[in-house]
Point group: C2
Chain length 191, copies 2
């Protein structure tokens, strides 16, 4: 196996392992390296060849989550059109990654002392900018701060993913439920 080919295949393997690890840890956040390996269909030794340890695995998952978030931000074109529609596009684009996001959202609470990944700060900034844009254009109310709306979006994505996984809401309603609640709220508008 040539040098080039080796690296290409390893990268593929690594990504697939990462995906299955994400899927498993989304359901059981305390899964051991052995369980992660078995879920990926490889041995613990091979898992360790891909990721130096559990820490490295979580870091890689974090990088994957940031990557998918930023990809979703690109797809959603947050700067174009009404902010409400941009939020809708965003949630739709981010839905596949919601489970992983949910895992990372709770996992981040463990990185207490250490600084959190710079990528999250950039994503936060782009989200708050979106909500701020909505406020300045008159679409969104100004008494709910952009920072809170961002945090609430994370929370709703997490509970949405959890509710879908538990079967309490249909997967096809995920985006609708979140966007409608975040933007419109539960109160019936008499319009």
């Amino acid at each position: 196996m040539s040098h080039m080919l080796y690296h290409r295949l390893m990268a593929l393997d690594r990504d697939q392992v990462l995906r299955s690890a994400a899927a498993l840890l989304t359901r059981k956040s305390t899964a051991t390296m052995d369980e992660v390996a078995k879920a990926a269909g490889i041995s613990r030794a091979t898992l360790h060849r891909h990721f130096a340890g559990r820490d490295a695995l979580v870091r890689a998952l974090e990088a994957l989550g940031i990557e998918e978030c930023e990809a979703a931000l690109e797809v959603a074109r947050l700067d174009e059109g009404p902010a409400a529609e941009a939020v809708h596009r965003l949630v739709r684009a981010i839905e596949p990654a919601a489970g992983l996001l949910s895992f990372l959202y709770t996992e981040n609470q463990l990185f207490e002392g250490e600084q959190q990944h710079q990528g999250w700060a950039r994503i936060d900034e782009r989200l708050t900018a979106l909500f701020r844009r909505g406020q300045e254009s008159g679409e969104f109310r100004i008494d709910l701060t952009p920072a809170w709306l961002t945090e609430a979006l994370y929370g709703l994505l997490a509970s949405g993913a959890w509710a879908v996984a538990e079967g309490r809401v249909a997967a096809k309603d995920f985006t609708y439920m979140i966007v409608e609640l975040l933007l419109g709220g539960a109160r019936r508008t008499n319009a």
Copy 2:
């Protein structure tokens, strides 16, 4: 020390230990028994005399959370007046327990195989009943299911508690932010 007095003091101690454990685990969900004991100002041995093990401690915290939730449900008088105001009273009453709720909300994901505490089912039922009542009275929209509204409330309580702990929103705005977002949403009403 008499028999009666013994039990009374133990109960007091136990409750205080439980409170401090809740406060600690809310911030660091992976704290060890040793850390929990130190945070409570007692030794690990004494902690073990109160709670047979970490499992028993978490169970006791779960019972405490259920207890405080049901107390909040009573205080909020969910059956009286407009459903929207009942939601407001509920969030205000449940605010002190939001941190503990947040901890239990994520911890529950670990009780995968086992059945969850029956108390949560009762609380869920009362919350969905509240949202259903709001729908039937015409206050709430009918396209967001009561089950989802209940789940979303949990999620918003969790992110609210987290955002306050991180200093991203002011503690005094906790109830307002959650209630306004849950009921009114981010979109500005042109009324």
